[in-house]
């Protein structure tokens, strides 16, 4: 269970997150909202990348006192809106780069990396340099990184951004496997509402840094306020 309690983030005079509270009890939950709503900012706060007010808990543990890299060592994993794997390392080394920093023995680290490669079915890519991968393969490697070392919280920022429909479907299947692979609570940001309603049991909707809805995904998507927020965006887009 991930608990956000009055999470507030300010950039200068701009309030990017305004006292967001939510309890994500389900294994996989979504965060949606129009562009600039504060979704990525929420993940950055949970990562400890920015100063925030409020409290972030996982079950009974609070992560607020940990700095960013200690949060990872504690059990936080995330992918980024723009993938952040190291181009000059092989896929294997990109996974190993996380295992290196976890409090595990050498053989446990190797086993974790192998487990991740197997779970994502990326063995054929393992020794390829990351720069030679296509967008989809990079996303697979990224997801592989996230399941290493018994994580407690996994956050995926638009994991299917820029992918083809089939690729999105397959990645969705893999994300659905995360709970049995790791036992972590997973948070997903995506603009693809079909994907969110397929894989997320609960969803938080943000708009202009405010929580406008939270609850079971189908109910949330039917909420008139949510529809209005999205319609507003669509009109802007035209």
């Amino acid at each position: 269970m991930i608990t956000l309690n009055n999470l507030t983030v300010r950039f200068g005079g701009v309030t990017a997150l305004d006292a967001i509270s939510a309890q994500f009890c389900q294994p996989i939950s979504g965060i949606i909202g129009p562009n600039g709503a504060g979704k990525t900012t929420t993940m950055n706060a949970i990562s400890g990348f920015l100063d925030y007010q409020g409290v972030i808990n996982w079950n009974d543990e609070t992560v607020d006192d940990l700095n960013p890299f200690k949060r990872t060592r504690w059990g936080l994993r995330r992918s980024f809106q723009k993938e952040q794997i190291a181009d000059d390392l092989s896929v294997l080394d990109n996974l190993q780069a996380i295992a290196d920093n976890l409090p595990l023995s050498r053989s446990e680290k190797r086993a974790e990396v192998e487990h991740a490669i197997e779970s994502m079915s990326i063995a054929p890519l393992a020794n390829r340099k990351a720069e030679s991968l296509n967008a989809y393969e990079k996303r697979l490697a990224d997801l592989g990184r996230c399941i290493i070392g018994n994580p407690k919280i996994i956050m995926l920022d638009e994991p299917c951004g820029g992918l083809q429909q089939e690729e999105t479907d397959h990645l969705g299947e893999l994300i659905l496997k995360i709970p049995e692979l790791t036992g972590a609570n997973t948070l997903i940001i995506d603009h693809d509402v079909d994907l969110i309603s397929r894989i997320c049991t609960e969803t938080l909707v943000l708009d202009f840094g405010k929580r406008i809805a939270f609850g079971e995904t189908a109910n949330v998507l039917a909420d008139p306020k949510v529809k209005a927020a999205y319609l507003g965006v669509e009109e802007d887009a035209k």
Binding site: S47, F69, T72, A86, D93, A97, D100, N101
Partner: protein, 310 residues
């Protein structure tokens, strides 16, 4: 293989003057390897490498004239002290990136330039600074390598060891952590990398290589001149490293060869050595415009095309 061939033949073939030039080239290869890995693997621009080399050289001379210890121990002390200076340099630099980092290292190099030219290098005189006018005490080379040709072999061996140390880092946890830092600090944090620690480690390793190369240079020449370690020299070495290519050992060899051998050749041919500056400038433009991986990248591409054709 190549190292072995070079090891056997160069010291034999080269004439007296040239052995000396190769010795100093070898020292700069080690120093360049330090800047190159910082730049290629971490994306950090350090413009203080030759100044750090000066520290290594100073410590080496100081140890040599103060105590009666073997060469290797003096060299290890020179490497260790310079490693610590590398860390000191890292302190203000850890929070900075790109241009600001480069400027900080350049300022440090400028500061050291002033110190070197004020206090000069120990040559056997009295006191802490150990400088006496005109004459100088002899410098003790390693017992195994007291002739110039043997000393050149000693340096080639040191270069091979230096390259192996870097390669070992690249294949283990530090190399992976550095690659994540280069991607972005967010990526590094998300991988659990302690960014400050691994950046400091990189500065330490580059400092260590600079210290060893400075110590070896002191052994090669017996005396050091403050002009060798001017801040502008650090900039020059960095620029030539870009020309050579920062990603592999070949680029580093090219950089050091351009830095030391080209001016010496010009001298030999009776051409003004300053002409080499113009050539370096043109080469830098060429590299920036057409060869992101430097001349070594172009050579490797050329060879791999050739071998595919046959």
């Amino acid at each position: 293989m190549l190292a072995l061939l070079v090891f056997i033949f160069i010291p034999v073939l080269a004439g007296g003057q040239w052995v000396k030039i190769f010795i100093s080239t070898g020292c700069f290869i080690l120093a360049a390897a330090g800047v190159a890995f910082m730049y290629a693997r971490l994306g950090m621009v350090s413009l203080g490498q030759i100044a750090l080399m000066g520290i290594g050289g100073w410590v080496m001379l100081r140890m040599n004239h103060a105590f009666d210890l073997p060469f290797e121990i003096n060299l290890a002390v020179a490497g260790a002290v310079t490693l610590v200076f590398g860390w000191l340099l890292a302190m203000p630099a850890l929070k900075m990136r790109g241009l600001y980092l480069a400027l900080i290292t350049l300022m440090a190099a400028g500061g050291l330039e002033v110190i070197f030219s004020t206090f000069r290098f120990p040559n056997g005189g009295e006191g802490f600074w150990g400088v006496m006018p005109s004459v100088a005490d002899p410098f003790r080379r390693p017992t195994l390598a007291s002739s110039d040709a043997d000393y050149l072999r000693y340096i080639i061996l040191a270069i091979v060891v230096g390259f192996l140390i870097i390669e070992l880092h690249m294949r283990t946890a530090p190399g992976r952590a550095w690659a994540m830092i280069r991607r972005s600090e967010a990526a590094a944090y998300a991988s659990g990398v302690n960014v400050v620690y691994y950046k400091a480690w990189a500065f330490g390793l580059a400092g260590f290589l600079a210290g060893i190369s400075g110590g070896l240079l002191a052994g090669g020449l017996g005396l050091l001149d403050p002009a060798t370690f001017r801040a502008s020299e650090s900039i020059m070495l960095f620029a030539l490293m870009i020309v050579g290519g920062s990603r592999g050992w070949l680029g580093v060899l090219i950089a050091a060869a351009l830095y030391r051998i080209v001016p010496a050749l010009f001298n030999d041919w009776g051409i003004d050595a300053d002409i080499s500056l113009i050539i370096f400038g043109a080469a830098l433009l060429h590299a920036i415009i057409t060869a992101p991986n430097g001349l070594s990248g172009q050579l490797i591409d050329l060879f791999s095309k050739e071998s595919k054709r046959t």
